[in-house]
């Protein structure tokens, strides 16, 4: 037996295994932009499109991929435009770009989301929701497409404003966690995913 060669082979294997096990990026604490800080800039951009533009929702990505990846992606609607909405993106390099989208079906006009509608800011919301999920940090690899979104629950009669955290690797099912943006109460999935009532009366 060629003992030195076996030893070298074993050592090499161990090195490869160690490298393989540690090559994925380690978990990191999440730091995202304050939506409260950026909201005025995004709103101003939207108001250049329509002076009565209001925030529909805002998605903040936890791990933007490159300098020209979107960090905040917000959509705005206008009460005077049923078939148009505006997408406003804040990129990691600090630029803002907007794009008008023409919809095929009339937009559901809802109560605007204004600064008064969320007391909990984005970073605080992420921390609350990560705690709920039992984590303090996330792996950028396993959560590459994760985001937190500020939105109204349109299916609920009160239409509360919530933060919803989606932990998503881009391919498999995401995990969802919900927080009332005003009271900081953690919400159950059943409080957010609501089935509609029948309308009009079912056809006999």
């Amino acid at each position: 037996m060629n003992f030195p060669k076996i030893c070298i082979g074993l050592i090499t294997s161990v090195i490869f295994i160690v490298i393989g096990c540690t090559s994925s990026k380690p978990d990191i604490a999440i730091e995202i932009p304050s939506f409260r800080d950026y909201y005025p800039v995004l709103l101003k951009e939207a108001q250049e499109w329509r002076p009565d533009a209001y925030l529909d929702d805002a998605r903040i990505f936890l791990f933007p991929k490159s300098s020209d990846s979107s960090v905040i992606s917000a959509s705005f609607q206008s009460p005077s435009k049923d078939l148009e909405m505006l997408g406003v993106d804040l990129y990691q390099d600090g630029t803002i770009a907007s794009k008008v989208f023409t919809q095929q079906y009339p937009i559901y006009q809802h109560k605007p989301i204004t600064e008064k509608d969320w007391k909990i800011d984005s970073q605080e919301a992420v921390e609350y929701l990560l705690e709920k999920s039992g984590r303090r940090s996330l792996s950028p690899d396993r959560n590459a497409c994760s985001f937190i979104i500020l939105e109204r629950v349109l299916s609920s009669s009160e239409q509360p404003v919530i933060w919803s955290l989606s932990l998503w690797d881009c391919w498999d099912n995401a995990q969802h966690f919900y927080l009332d943006a005003n009271s900081a109460k953690i919400l159950d999935s059943s409080e957010v995913n609501i089935k509609p009532t029948r309308f009009p009366t079912p056809t006999p």
């Binding site: 951009e45 250049e48 499109w49 991929k65 490159s66 300098s67 020209d68 990846s69 979107s70 992606s73 959509s75 909405m85 505006l86 997408g87 993106d89 990129y91 630029t95 803002i96 770009a97 907007s98 794009k99 008008v100 989208f101 023409t102 919809q103 095929q104 079906y105 009339p106 937009i107 559901y108 590459a144 497409c145 979104i149 939105e151 349109l154 299916s155 919803s164 989606s166 998503w168 881009c170 391919w171 498999d172 099912n173 995401a174 969802h176 999935s189 995913n193 609501i194 089935k195 509609p196 009532t197 029948r198 309308f199 009009p200 009366t201 079912p202 056809t203």
Partner: protein, 203 residues
Amino acid sequence: VECLGNGGKKGAGFTGDNSSTNKPKKDKGCGSRGKDCLGNTNQLDGLIQQEIDRRFDPFIGWFPADFDYAASEYPTYDYYAEQAYEQAGYNLLQIAARNQDNPMTDDDWLNAGVPIEYIYNKGVGAKAPGHQFFLNYMDRDIKNPSNYEANYLNALMTTHDYELYKAKNLYYQQLLFENGSLQGAWEFLQMTIDIAGPDNPGG
């Protein structure tokens, strides 16, 4: 084929040509490799975006690429399933526009003469890569895939053009990011072209 980022493609509910840049501060095109999006010469880029559109199509996206949807029994089933919503008293587009859950029950399907097996089988489509990606982007809980039969998914996409556009763009960016190049992304799509849905969609 124009690129997703330029808004030139028409997919299911994809507004494409109708969208316009309000203030073109920077072309964000197809992500970090914007130059690939600008030329019509990049055939590979066009093919990738065509395949992305196919994967996101609510009616055919869950089938393998060579499945002949038009020649199958599925268009008929899909038509009856669409009628079932109206028969049960629901305005599907209105439900989707409000981002509400699918309200249909087993009884609703049975009353409309739609086989439950079809709905559950088709609902598995929510597990198809393109559909799953769109639903995850929409922040939808897809634990119960039977909620996402093709007509409901189509209504969600129709009433959420913007999210569909953004989801397709993110899918494209992620493909490039993970595979390093257009060639790598295309090879990955080819490797996974037959696993968009169940092996035996008619079964």
